[in-house]
Every structure is written in C-alpha cells, then in structure tokens.
C-alpha cells in the first residue's frame, strides 16, 4: 500500500466525495454486470483494492459526470434521500430492475461541521463488500432479454429547487417484484444502504 497520509478524520466534504465516487463506480459496475452496454466499452481501474470496470464510452461519460456532480452537491447539503438506477426495456418501456441506494445523512455533521473519526481503510473495505455483492448478484438476477436502457432517479427534499436539467418523475416501481437487500456502508457522516428489486 502506498504511504499516503492516512487520516482518520472524515469531514462532510470528504464524506460527500467518498459517497459520490461510490455511486459512480457502483453505476458503472451495474451497467457492466447487467450487460446494458457492450463489455468492450469498459476499462479496468484499481479502486477499493478491487479491479473495477468503468466505461470508456465518451457519450456515457458525458451523461454520468454532470449527474454525479449534481448528486455531490445534494449530498453536501444532505437534501438527497435515495438514488435509484432503473433498468427498462427499450421497446416496451417496462421496468425490469430497480437498484435503490438509500442515503441517510447525519444532520449533526451538517450543523457543527466537525470532522468525524473513521479510518479510510474501514470505509474502503465496506464499500468493496457492497461492490463485490453487486458483481455477485448475477447469480440470482434473471437474464435481461432484449436491449435495455437505464434511468437515474433521485429522491430529494420536497422544498428543493429543481435545477435546470432535472424534471420531476414518478418512483417507477416494479409491479410484481422480488427484493434483495444488499450490504450497507457508512462514512460516519453518510450511511448508504443498497437493495435491488427485480421482476419475478
């Protein structure tokens, strides 16, 4: 391991960076594992002690980066409650899979702004456990037939100003679904739970 300054203090800003990064790699892992985009369009990076696959497709990167930047802002203000990745069939527009990440922010941290104590290694271990579970989900998730597209939904506070590029939408639940709850991780300021719902 490289001898970087191992700080155990997590600030609100640091926590939002960690959670936003997790969402980026998590979404990329889901897109690769579920076969939404061709596997050749992904490249390997080393992160959290694992080899993760991120997209090298420019259009997709241009789509994801502003979304993640916006989510980072909302995480900082603790106005985001959930992030949902919805996988739909392109032709029928039917929702086939729904990956839901619940975010719980500790309001105390927002108020006093004091850094919390949690080692980076522990957080990375917890995140890598969740990402490994996403990868291993192929063992119980049904095959996605046909071409699929994905959509990102964010549950925010009611009184939030909707930014320019975003619009209001419905929850897009799956009618007859089976749910599997995955592991969670916490940075001591933000707690993230994960679960996946799929059509039976």
């Amino acid at each position: 391991m490289a001898a970087t300054a191992t700080s155990n203090a997590i600030t609100l800003k640091g926590s939002t960076e960690i959670v936003a990064e997790f969402f980026l790699y998590g979404i990329n892992s889901i897109l690769y594992q579920r076969g939404i985009y061709p596997p050749e369009s992904f490249t390997r990076v080393q992160k959290y002690g694992l080899t993760l696959l991120v997209t090298s497709d420019d259009k997709l990167k241009d789509y994801l980066n502003p979304v993640i930047a916006q989510i980072k802002e909302w995480l900082y203000n603790m106005t985001v409650k959930k992030l949902v990745v919805v996988i739909k069939d392109v032709d029928t527009n039917e929702v086939l899979e729904r990956w839901q990440f619940d975010v719980e922010g500790d309001k105390e941290a927002l108020k006093d702004g004091k850094p919390r104590q949690k080692s980076e290694k522990d957080i990375n271990n917890e995140i890598s456990a969740v990402i490994r579970q996403i990868t291993a989900s192929v063992t119980f998730l049904p095959l996605l037939e046909g071409a699929c597209a994905f959509d990102l939904l964010v549950y925010t506070d009611k009184d939030l100003d909707v930014p320019a590029k975003w619009g209001e939408d419905g929850p897009q639940f799956i009618a007859n679904s089976e749910e599997v709850r995955l592991r969670s991780f916490t940075t001591s300021i933000h707690k993230v739970d994960a679960m996946v719902a799929f059509k039976k």
């Binding site: 997709l60 095959l143 597209a149 959509d151 549950y155 929850p171």
Partner: protein, 446 residues
C-alpha cells in the same frame, strides 16, 4: 412500545411487542400505524358518521405511506435527469451465455482419441456441495482420498478396494479440506472446527492435531515438512510438522475465506486465492511470516479457488474465477503480468496441468458441468468431457499423470483417462477397457 389507547383493555397489558409463534418477526410491520388505522375505523363506526369526506384525507395519506413503503411522497420529490442516457446500439446482452445450454463446438483433434466416457464412476454419497472446500486428493502411492461429510474414505486405485480412514465424532465438525504429503502415506485433514489433523493412513492412526485457526480450514498445501492451511477467517498458517510448536508463520492478507492454496513445485512460492476475489503470491525464501505478497492480482471478479503452477515453467501460474468471473487467467509472477485471459462461460472450480502433451484441464459448473481440456499456450479447447449431472467441485490427477478424477455435486467421482502416455498401445487398451467399465454397475465407495 405502543401505548394502549383503546377502550378495550388488553389481556396482557405488559406484553412486549416481540415475536410470537404466529408472527415470527414484527419488524416489517409498523405497529403504530396499524394501531392508528384500526382505532380510526372503530371511532367512525361508533359515531355512525355517514359523511366520509373529513376522514378520507388522512385515510388516503396512510394508504399513500403504506404503498410507498414508508416514504411519504408529500415530503419527497423524485427527480430524474432530463437528458436520457445514450443508447447502446446494436448490442445484444452477453450475459446470455450464463443461462443458455448450447454446446460449444470443439475442433476435432486428429492427433489422439480422448474417451468421452469416464473410465470409472465411483459413488460418493454425502459429498458436501460447497464450492469453497477441497475434499479430493490423489497420493503418489496411488490412493484417492475423499471426504464425505464427517468421514474420509481411501480408494486404492491399484487394488480398487475401499477403506474408511476416519469418522469425526461430532456432526458439526465435518471435513473441510485434505491434502497428501508429496511422499504419500500421511494425510493432512482440515476440519470445520479450525483444526488440522495429521493421519498416518497405513497404520490408520491420528498422529497429531494442530489448532490455531479461528474458522474452518478449507485449503491445505504441503512444502516438504511444512503444511500451509487457509481458513475462512482469511488467515494462512504455516505448520512445521516435525516440532511441537508447529505454528511457524502466519500470512494475514485475505479478507475473506481462503479457498485456493498451492505451493509451487520448486517450493519457493505460495499462491493463495480467496473469496475476496484476490490472488496473492508469496515468496518465502527469506522468511515465513511478516512478509507481504510479492504479487497481488485483483483482476478476477469472483472467488478464486482454482490455482495451479505450471510444472515446466516456474513463473507461470493459472487461476480460475467463480460464477461472476468465469475466466481462466495465466500469470507471469516474476513481472506480474497477465499473460492470457480466457472466458470459459462457466464457474471454474479447479485447474490441472498435464506435462505429457503440454495441456491443461479445468472443471466447471453450470450449465454443462464439463471438464475442458486446453492446449497450452494457445489455449484452444481440445475436448469437453461431459457426464456430470451437477457442478464439478474438485479435480485431482493420478500419480502416473494419465487419469483425472473429478468430484461433483451429483455425488459421484468420475475417473477420466484423458492424458494417455504411450499413444498407440494405450489408446487401444483404453478404448476397450472404458467400454467394459461404463456398462458395469458403478462401484460404491461404501
């Protein structure tokens, strides 16, 4: 704790709202909400109010909350990004290979005839269907050891006789790993309790019990007088079997169960694979503990149980990944590069090298449960041996190098004579012999 607001006093007013035998878990119910809903209804009936509209709004509210699983949509806004994601044009889902049953076409090899039927099928009842255990090993004295639940049986391949070596006392202390010493005769046994037992199989005596692991020992490997054991805790211990204080080293690097463990033929390197998808290569020429791995490979996307060193090239290591990975990877451990990566479309449980014709054989799971023979170094498929009705769990090779034994979840061990030595002569005798054996009743181990 819900407060008793109702007019009817409950029979057991101090009863905690915990599990009872009709409703084992109340955590998914919102007791307060249900109670409020019941009380509300009761109140309306008593007042006999025909006008429903004042009470309709809170009722709708509660309905909303319940349907939306606790998130009151009045409090939350759901936003979606206006630009829609770029479409993946002309791309069919590659994941289909995991679910489809198509047989892969194997090019006909003009050089030799590999019998498609096993030479022999042995019955292995109670063989544990656990991917992470290593329950099969063939000694250099030509005895095949297999662990069935809490017992170990030895099948003498020369005389075709069976003997039970041991049966554990407690049902919970089942066998999780076994490995013969390179000279044969002594068997190291890993148990669920975390102990490593040494048995003298000729005298049928327990020589010693070496404890120290916190969890079950699923992987074992010998290096002259040292046996290394890998545990579910992620720790690897070195035991020197000649001295009383046997625990001579520990390697703590894996964060999950160690399922693959193998020393290189020259005894210089130890390769370990775990459920954390990591392959570590350790160099123990200087010290047995306190060392970091010389190589760490995280390319695999699933547990790595299949590990095998190339017998003729000391720097080449082959590794195979589980269901989410399905790749066989060849590594050069001196420079840490991945020499080759092949997608096998199925969970890889074990890899063996064959020196005779420079080939490799791998055992697989869903959907074909086949053994695939590859030509090294091109890595093209030479043959696929099917027959197992459930996933293959372990492979081991006979001391002569001609036969491979595969144990599978269908509770059978099949012996395949796939690496023939003297091509002309052995080919003829193998063909006639295999026809005879498969039509005979499968011989039982017990």
């Amino acid at each position: 704790m819900p407060t008793q607001k109702g007019k009817t006093p409950s029979k057991t007013p101090n009863k905690q709202s915990g599990p009872d035998r009709f409703i084992p878990s109340r955590s998914s119910q919102d007791i307060d909400l249900s109670h409020f809903a019941i009380m509300k209804e009761k109140g309306e009936n008593e007042e006999n109010d025909p006008d429903w509209s004042p009470s309709k709004a809170p009722y709708q509210n509660q309905l909303n909350t319940v349907l939306n699983k606790g998130d009151n949509p009045q409090d939350t806004k759901i936003l979606s990004f206006n630009n829609k994601c770029p479409a993946a044009t002309g791309h069919s889902n590659r994941m289909k290979v995991l679910y489809s049953y198509s047989k892969t076409t194997v090019p006909k090899s003009a050089a030799r005839n590999i019998p498609q039927q096993p030479d022999r099928i042995l019955d292995a009842p109670d063989l544990l269907d656990d991917y992470y255990l290593n329950l099969l090993d063939w000694s250099t004295s030509n005895i095949l050891a297999v662990a069935l639940g809490t017992a170990i049986y030895l099948w003498n391949a020369t005389t075709c006789t069976i003997a039970q070596l041991l049966n554990m006392q407690s049902e919970n202390d089942y066998i999780t790993g076994l490995s013969w010493t390179p000279e044969g005769g002594i068997l190291a046994v890993g148990t669920n309790a975390g102990a490593v037992q040494l048995w003298d199989t000729e005298a049928e005596k327990l020589l010693r019990v070496m404890t120290g692991h916190a969890a079950r020992v699923g992987a074992l490997s010998w290096n002259s007088h040292i046996v290394s054991s890998g545990s579910r805790s992620g720790a690897i211990h070195h035991h020197d079997v000649r001295v009383p204080d046997h625990h001579v080293g520990s390697l703590i690097e894996h964060t999950q169960e160690v399922c693959g463990l193998t020393w290189s033929p020259d005894g210089r390197h130890l390769a370990s694979g775990g459920n954390d998808n990591v392959v570590n290569v350790w160099d123990t020429t200087l010290a047995l503990e306190g060392v970091s791995p010389v190589q760490t490979f995280t390319h695999h996307l699933a547990a790595v149980k299949a590990l095998a060193w190339c017998p003729w090239n000391p720097v080449i290591l082959a590794s195979g990944g589980g269901t989410a990975d399905r790749h066989i990877r060849l590594w050069n451990i001196s420079n840490g590069s991945c020499v080759n990566a092949i997608d096998t479309n199925s969970q890889v449980c074990s890899i063996l090298w064959s020196t005779e014709l420079k080939e490799m054989i791998s055992g697989h799971g869903y959907s074909q449960n086949q053994l695939t023979i590859w030509k090294y170094p091109q890595m093209n498929r030479i043959a696929e041996l099917t027959g197992h009705e459930a996933r293959v769990l372990s492979l081991t090779m006979s001391p002569c190098g001609t036969t491979v034994a595969s144990a599978a979840a269908d509770e059978t061990i099949r012996l395949w004579k796939c690496f023939a030595k003297d091509k002309e002569k052995v080919k003829k005798t193998a063909q006639t012999k295999s026809v005879k054996e498969t039509f005979s009743l499968p011989s039982r181990i017990r």
